[in-house]
């Protein structure tokens, strides 16, 4: 997998019709060996995702410029309510399928905390990179 894809992340198995496959894929990013060799930040491939039907929020978590893997990224709605949580991949990446509107992303990891606010649009991929502070 190394160097085969920008961002090095395999989207094998992502199919909007089969949610659990996607689900497992999403988690397989966390520490799985495949596709995790490069330390590329951002640029998560959306290959296999029907972006036109989704409202994607994705990005990466870094600390001092280094990707943070195993960080917990929490998606909060405009009212501050928890909506979802994922674990960052070995390259520090994450992805959510949200709805249009304003969202807050909050990161919790042994290395520190971080937060970012985004406005997501249907049919588009909203990218956000979050830098942690101790």
């Amino acid at each position: 997998m190394c160097g085969a894809t920008v961002g090095g992340l395999s989207t094998e198995g992502i199919d909007v019709a089969k949610e659990t496959v996607i689900h497992w894929s999403a988690y397989r990013w966390r520490k799985g060996p495949e596709g995790m060799c490069g330390a590329t930040v951002g640029g998560l491939s959306t290959e296999g995702i029907d972006v036109a039907k989704e409202t994607v929020i994705q990005g990466s978590v870094t600390k001092g410029g280094t990707p943070v893997s195993g960080g917990y990224v929490r998606l909060l709605d405009a009212g501050g309510d928890f909506t979802a949580e994922v674990v960052t991949s070995a390259t520090g990446q994450f992805r959510f399928f949200a709805a249009p509107g304003q969202w807050t992303l909050r990161v919790l990891s042994p290395g520190g905390r971080g937060e970012s606010t985004v406005t997501a649009v249907h049919g588009q991929v909203t990218e956000t990179d979050i830098a942690l502070t101790s």
Binding site: H23, R30, K31, D50, E54, Y72, L75, F82, R95
Partner: protein, 277 residues
């Protein structure tokens, strides 16, 4: 029942990793998480492969559970400590399942895998060898599991608690936001249900809030505690988390988890559905 009968702290867990009669079981939504590292000595239960009927939509029967737990080397006398990712959603689901089949001493690790990881505690890839046992389950309880007809009959009569996120409740989203949204069922919620997201019962680190905070949460949202209650979500795992809070932590006697949840209800022909907050 006290909180320590059903919940253990990470410190307690760390001090009981080698204790005979205590079995740690990881149940994750991401079934591969176990392979990347788990609490030393823990065995894995796969919520999908191990706990679901392979053909029809239901969970495995009594004989199926007996076979599974025998293979895992668990006995009916063991203290089973469940933990997992996603703030213990699937661990809570498995907890409920152990209770459906009458396991006596089962507990959740407070904060689950997340808290263990945030505290930088050890994980291992070693898979323990536990000798096979002859596990005997009890017949499935029906007093903690709700089926669709009871749910329809409960509209306007019992507490219905929809524990999904506000956007799923209102119909804006059909699934948690880490999942793609295209689904076959209708969006919305069961009429008269109150939306109290499971997450309001947990702290950021995944631990459960205190009994006083939890009581205030449900009463503040207009739930009459003590009245018959049915909790649901999308597939029954987040509502198992809320079932745990109401039935196990707050000791409410008549609480059921509707594991058919929105994927069943939202697909039924002719049932009432409400949209909006």
């Amino acid at each position: 029942m006290s909180r320590t009968d059903v919940l253990v702290e990470t410190d307690w867990a760390a001090n009981h990793l080698q204790t005979p009669g205590v079995v740690f079981v990881e149940v994750d939504e991401d079934v591969s998480a176990y392979d990347t590292g788990h609490i030393p000595g823990a065995v894995r239960v796969d919520w999908r492969e191990d706990l679901q009927d392979p053909v029809r939509r239901d969970f495995v029967d009594q004989a199926g559970l007996e076979q599974l737990l025998s293979e895992k080397g668990i006995t009916g006398d063991d203290t089973v400590v469940l933990y997992g990712g996603n703030n213990n959603w699937f661990a809570a689901y498995a907890y409920w399942y152990f209770k459906v089949y009458g396991h006596d001493d089962v507990r959740l690790l407070d904060g689950g895998r997340k808290k263990w990881e945030l505290e930088s505690r050890p994980l291992t890839t070693d898979v323990p060898a536990r000798p096979r046992t002859d596990y005997r389950a009890k017949p499935a309880r029906t007093d903690i599991r709700a089926f669709r007809d009871e749910v329809i009959a409960a509209i306007g009569e019992q507490n219905l608690i929809d524990v999904r996120s506000p956007d799923e409740f209102s119909g804006k989203l059909l699934a948690p936001a880490h999942l793609p949204q295209e689904q076959s069922q209708r969006a919305g919620h069961i009429p008269t249900a109150r939306n109290i997201p499971w997450s309001k019962a947990a702290n950021d680190d995944g631990t459960f809030k205190s009994d006083d905070e939890l009581t205030a949460l449900y009463e503040g949202a207009g739930v009459e505690l003590g009245k018959d209650t049915i909790a649901y979500c999308r597939i029954g795992e987040r509502s198992a988390h809320t079932w745990f809070v109401l039935h196990e932590l707050l000791g409410q006697p008549n609480v059921k988890n509707y594991d058919g949840s929105w994927t069943e209800y939202g697909s039924l022909v002719g049932v009432p559905v409400e949209k909006g907050a």
